[in-house]
C-alpha cells in the first residue's frame, strides 16, 4: 500500500492543480489572474502527462549505453514539450491582449471592461 502512494502522488497533485486553476478561471475577475489560472491548468495537464509516462526506477529513454531495467515512456515527454511550447505562445498572446485592453479601458477588471454585453 505504502509504496503506491509516491506513484499516485503526482496524479493527485495534477488534479489539485486543475481544481485550483478552474476556481481561478471561473471566479477571479482580474484578467492577469485569469491568465495565471490558465497557466496553472496547463501545468496540471503537463504534470499529468509526464507522470503517466513515468516508470518507477526507469531510465531516460535514450538508446545509447542504456543500463538494464525499465525505461520511462518517451512519447508523453514529447507531448509535454510540444504542449509547453504551444502554451507559451497562447499565454504570450493573452498577455499582449490584456495590455491592449488596459490601454483602452485603464483597467484589467473583467467586470469593468465589458463593452460587449447582451
Amino acid at each position: 500500500m505504502m509504496e503506491h502512494i509516491p506513484l499516485n502522488f503526482p496524479f493527485l497533485a495534477a488534479a489539485l492543480l486543475a481544481g485550483v486553476a478552474f476556481y481561478i478561471i471561473i471566479f477571479k475577475r482580474n484578467l492577469i489572474k485569469l491568465i495565471m489560472g490558465i497557466a496553472l491548468l496547463a501545468s496540471a495537464v503537463n504534470l499529468f502527462l509526464v507522470a503517466l509516462g513515468y516508470r518507477a526506477g526507469g531510465n531516460a529513454p535514450i538508446y545509447t549505453d542504456v543500463p538494464p531495467g525499465p525505461m520511462v515512456l518517451p512519447v508523453p515527454q514529447a507531448l509535454t514539450l510540444t504542449s509547453i511550447v504551444i502554451n507559451v505562445a497562447v499565454l504570450a498572446l493573452m498577455l499582449t491582449m490584456v495590455v491592449h485592453i488596459y490601454r483602452h479601458t485603464g483597467d484589467i477588471d473583467s467586470k469593468k471592461s465589458r463593452r460587449l454585453k447582451g
Binding site: 486543475a18 478561471i25 484578467l31 485569469l34 490558465i38 491548468l41 496547463a42 495537464v45 499529468f48 502527462l49 503517466l52 515512456l73 512519447v75 508523453p76 507531448l79 510540444t82 504542449s83 504551444i86 502554451n87 505562445a89 497562447v90 498572446l93 493573452m94 491582449m97 490584456v98 491592449h100 485592453i101 483602452h104 479601458t105 471592461s113 465589458r114 463593452r115 460587449l116 447582451g118
Partner: protein
C-alpha cells in the same frame, strides 16, 4: 499526378503553413506582389483539395503516413499498432476541407480591398494562412495529439485575427475571450488525450477505437472531449464567447472563425462516431446532443431578435443555426443502433445535419460580409442608425436578401434544402422537435426582415448621401458565395449525393475508418 494525389494531404497543410511565414518577407517586395503570392499559393492549395476530393470520393479513405517508406503504409512491417503520425482523410474530412477551402477563398478575395490602407496587412494574411492550415489539419488528422496541436494553431490564429483591429477596444476583448475559451478547451482535450494514452499506449484515433474498452476513465475522457468541443463550437450553454468574437472579427475572417467552430463540431462527431462509436449508449448520448441542439436553436434565436448590432444579431443566429446541425446529427446518433429506423429517417437526419453545415457556412459567411460591407462604408454596426442603404449599395442589398432568405429556409435557396431534410426526418423521430425547428426558422425570418427594413429601405438619410458601393474585390468575394448558395438550392439532390452522403457514410461506418489504418488486425 499520382504522386501529387498521394502527397496532397500533406501539401494542403504544409503549403499554407510555409506561406504564412513567407508572407512577411514577401511583403517587402510590395503589397501587390504579396497579394498575387497569396492568391497563387491558395490556388495551388485549392487544386490539391480538389484532386484529393476526387480521389476520396472515387477510391475511398486516403491514409497518409508521414516518414513512411510508402505514404499508404500505416503499419510498418512487424508492428501491430501505428507508430507514425498520419492523416486519415475520409468523406467527412474532405467535406470539411471543401467548406473551409471555399470560405477561405472567398474571404481572401474579399479582404484584398477591404484591407487597403490598413497597417499590419502582412501579419493579417499570415494569420489567415495559419488559421487555414490549422483547420485543414484538424479535419485531416488521424491521431489525437495532432488534433490538439492543430486545434491550438487554429485557436491562436483565430484569436489574433479576431483582435486584428486593436484600435477598437471591443475587438481586443472579443479576441481575448476567444483565446481564453480556446486555451481552456484545448487543455481539456489534452487531458482527455492523456487519459486515453495512459490506457492504450497509442495516439492514433483508429487504433484507439480498435482497442476501446469503454472503462470509467474512457467515459471521463469522453466527457472532457465533449465539453471542450461544445465550448469551441458555441453550443448553448457554452456559447457566450461567440457573439463577442464574431461581432468584432474583421469581415474576411469572421467566416473563417465560423468555419473553425464547425471544425470543432467535426471533431466532436469524429469522437462520438469514429472513436467511441459502438461502445457508448448511443440513445443517451444522441439525446444529449439533441438537447444541446434544441437549446442552441431556441436560445440563440431568442437572443438574436432584440439585438441592434447587425453583426451581433447574425452571430446569435449562427449559434441558433448550429443547433439545427446538432439536432440532425443527434437524431442520427440516437437511432444508429436500430438499422430500420436508421434507414427510414436516421440517415436523412444526418444528411440534413451535415448538409446544413456547408449551407450555413456559406450563407452566414455572405451575411457577415454584407454586414461588414455596411460597416466599411458607414462606420457603424447599429441597425438603428442605418437607413435607405439599398439606394447606394445595390450589390450588398442583393447579397443580403439572398443570405437572409437562405437562412430563413425559403425555397429555392440552399437553407431550404437542408432544413427540409431535417424537418422531415426529425418529424418521424419526434414531432415536437420538428415543430420547434420550424418555429425557430420563422423567428429567424422575422428578425432578418426587421433588419432589412431598418437598414436598407426607408427614406435616404442625409448622412449617407455620399455612400458608394463597396470595392470590386469585396463584391467578387461575396458573389462566389451567393452563386454557390443559389446553385446548392437548385440542385440539392446532386450535392447530397456527391458530397454529403459520403460524409454521412464515413461517420456511420466506423469499421472502415478503423480498418483503413489497422488493416487486417483483429
Amino acid at each position: 499526378m499520382d504522386s501529387l494525389i498521394t502527397h496532397s494531404p500533406a501539401l494542403i497543410v504544409a503549403l499554407p503553413l510555409l506561406a504564412a511565414f513567407a508572407i512577411p518577407l514577401i511583403n517587402r517586395a510590395g503589397p501587390r506582389v504579396r497579394d498575387i503570392f497569396n492568391l497563387v499559393i491558395f490556388g495551388f492549395v485549392a487544386f490539391f483539395v480538389a484532386i484529393l476530393a476526387v480521389d476520396v470520393y472515387s477510391v475511398g479513405i486516403h491514409v497518409y503516413t508521414f516518414g513512411a517508406t510508402a505514404a499508404e503504409l500505416a503499419l510498418p512491417g512487424g508492428y501491430t499498432v501505428p507508430v507514425r503520425i498520419m492523416f486519415e482523410v475520409d468523406g467527412m474530412s474532405i467535406f470539411m476541407g471543401i467548406i473551409i477551402t471555399t470560405v477561405t477563398l472567398a474571404s481572401l478575395i474579399y479582404s484584398l480591398q477591404f484591407l487597403k490602407g490598413r497597417t499590419g496587412q502582412a501579419r493579417f494574411y499570415s494569420l489567415m494562412m495559419l488559421l487555414y492550415a490549422g483547420m485543414m489539419g484538424l479535419a485531416f488528422t488521424g491521431d489525437m495529439f495532432n488534433l490538439f496541436v492543430f486545434l491550438e494553431i487554429a485557436s491562436i490564429a483565430g484569436a489574433g485575427l479576431a483582435a486584428y483591429r486593436t484600435n477598437m477596444a471591443d475587438a481586443v476583448e472579443g479576441g481575448f475571450k476567444y483565446i481564453v475559451i480556446s486555451a481552456v478547451s484545448a487543455l481539456l482535450v489534452l487531458f482527455a488525450i492523456g487519459i486515453l494514452y495512459a490506457q492504450y499506449n497509442v495516439l492514433s484515433i483508429a487504433a484507439l477505437a480498435n482497442y476501446m474498452q469503454y472503462t470509467t476513465l474512457d467515459m471521463m475522457a469522453l466527457g472532457l472531449l465533449g465539453g471542450a468541443f461544445v465550448m469551441k463550437l458555441a453550443g448553448v450553454p457554452l456559447h457566450m464567447w461567440a457573439p463577442d468574437t464574431y461581432t468584432v472579427a474583421p469581415a474576411g475572417t469572421t467566416p473563417m472563425i465560423l468555419a473553425a467552430s464547425y471544425t470543432a463540431m467535426y471533431a466532436l462527431y469524429r469522437m462520438t462516431f469514429s472513436l467511441y462509436g459502438g461502445h457508448i449508449d448511443t440513445t443517451a448520448i444522441g439525446w444529449i446532443v439533441i438537447i444541446i441542439g434544441v437549446l442552441s436553436m431556441f436560445i440563440g434565436v431568442m437572443m438574436a431578435v432584440h439585438q441592434t448590432d447587425i453583426k451581433r444579431m447574425m452571430a446569435y443566429h449562427a449559434i441558433s443555426q448550429g443547433g439545427y446541425m446538432l439536432l440532425g446529427l443527434g437524431v442520427g446518433l440516437a437511432v444508429i443502433a436500430d438499422p430500420v429506423a436508421l434507414a427510414n429517417y436516421g440517415r436523412d437526419a444526418m444528411n440534413g445535419g451535415i448538409f446544413h453545415i456547408i449551407n450555413h457556412v456559406f450563407y452566414k459567411a455572405l451575411l457577415f460580409m454584407t454586414a461588414e460591407a455596411i460597416f466599411f462604408r458607414i462606420g457603424t454596426r447599429d441597425t438603428n442608425k442605418m437607413g435607405g442603404l439599398a439606394r447606394n449599395m445595390k450589390w450588398t442589398t442583393a447579397f443580403y436578401i439572398i443570405g437572409a432568405l437562405a437562412i430563413s429556409g425559403i425555397p429555392p435557396l440552399n437553407g431550404f434544402a437542408s432544413k427540409l431534410l431535417i424537418y422531415e426526418s426529425v418529424l418521424r423521430f419526434n414531432p415536437v422537435l420538428s415543430v420547434i425547428a420550424m418555429f425557430v426558422s420563422l423567428v429567424t425570418l422575422a428578425s432578418f426582415a426587421k433588419v432589412f427594413y431598418s437598414a436598407f429601405t426607408g427614406p435616404p438619410m442625409p448622412a449617407y448621401k455620399e455612400v458608394r458601393e463597396v470595392p470590386k474585390s469585396m463584391i467578387i468575394g461575396m458573389s462566389i458565395l451567393a452563386v454557390l448558395i443559389i446553385f446548392f438550392g437548385i440542385f440539392p439532390g446532386l450535392i447530397v449525393d456527391t458530397i454529403v452522403a459520403p460524409a454521412t457514410d464515413a461517420l456511420i461506418n466506423q469499421a472502415s475508418y478503423i480498418n483503413a489504418v489497422m488493416g487486417a488486425v483483429p
